[in-house]
Symmetry: C3
């Protein structure tokens, strides 16, 4: 099943593509590789989820934020590529979790994103290489920031 | 206008290429892709700007440090590629800001770098995909560290 | 000398390939590029080294953890590629050190990894571009996390 059909089947609602938060392109394409800029958990109302995991947010909140970041990424990818069906596969994910010093479940948080991409693009093409890391602070106090490298139809 | 001509026109002074700070290459080239190692704000006198943004440094200081990091990157790129005119475009930037827990304007800090690269390489080729992230500590207490992926003339 | 022969000559013992710690692939290959997921310092007994550098761990401990992370990466690469001899060269390393606020020798810590890869793959192919960064927290309180981009025999 195509990714666009899967979005419909799952009844996923994508937020608007995030407006640029600085001097950068949301996606840059070189041949069949797409570099996707860092995204945060933009909600459908255009506001961001905020807070630090381990303080205002718990593990489940963090997972929901990671999933919402994935929805924002899908929105950008669809807008920039014309269709999610141009994505061949997810190659690499770099994910940062805004964490207290003693919160160490970053991989479980980022699974909220990874489950979404697996559901949309399938086990073979939607699960890539990944690093899930913690940090003490992220832009605008978002809990999660995720960037991607994709293989696409050129 | 070529990037080298632009450097001259803008009267930009580049610091010396940073000496290796560990066991790595400043730039590695694979086909038409150049991977550029993490750089900090090396000044023309060979010393680094230091300090945490939100504590010793404010937003404007951070932006100046990001711009200086860009100048150090240009110096390395020129030395390693022979000329800045071999750069076709900036594909991807990963930028970390050494931040206090409550300083959340990392994208605005990194705009100091991104404006420089836009000025030198132009709107089309000098603005790439980007992630701007915060962290609690960087090597030698530098305020900013930036790595790049470039498309180049092979 | 081939990397596999070098492993034997140096008498290096590799830990078991780390089991997946989330929803991701250990390695994803696109053409002659291999994206290797973030790894931590898995020991031969299957447990991870833990602790923050600057608190429980000192510089030498951190270097040993970076080296052990390199051994875990070699184990994964061998398993996923069939042989280390399929690696042409290390292109890029992104390395994070779980650090106290005032520990700023992240490059020296990560040299523990870089020396290992230089020894195994040689000066020309085992030393790539690199960023060494600090952070306040990593998954499971590991001291070091490292991801790689490799050029391989396709």
């Amino acid at each position: 099943m195509s990714a666009e059909n899967k979005i419909a089947e799952l009844g996923l609602e994508l937020p608007p593509p995030p407006p640029p938060g600085g001097i950068y392109q949301p996606v840059v394409i070189a041949g069949n590789i797409a570099y996707v800029s860092g995204h945060g958990p933009l909600k459908n109302d255009g506001a961001y989820i905020t807070g630090r995991v381990g303080r205002e947010l718990d593990l489940a909140d963090g997972q929901a934020a990671a999933r919402q970041t994935g929805l924002a990424l899908l929105s950008t990818i669809r807008q920039q590529l014309g269709s999610l069906d141009r994505v061949r596969r997810l190659l690499k994910t770099l994910a940062l979790v805004n964490s207290t010093d003693d919160f160490t479940q970053q991989p479980q948080v980022i699974n909220g994103f990874s489950e979404l991409f697996r559901d949309v693009f399938g086990e073979e093409n939607g699960v890539g290489a990944r690093s899930a890391l913690g940090t003490s602070v992220l832009p605008g106090n978002i809990p999660v920031e995720i960037e991607l490298i994709l293989e696409i139809e050129p």
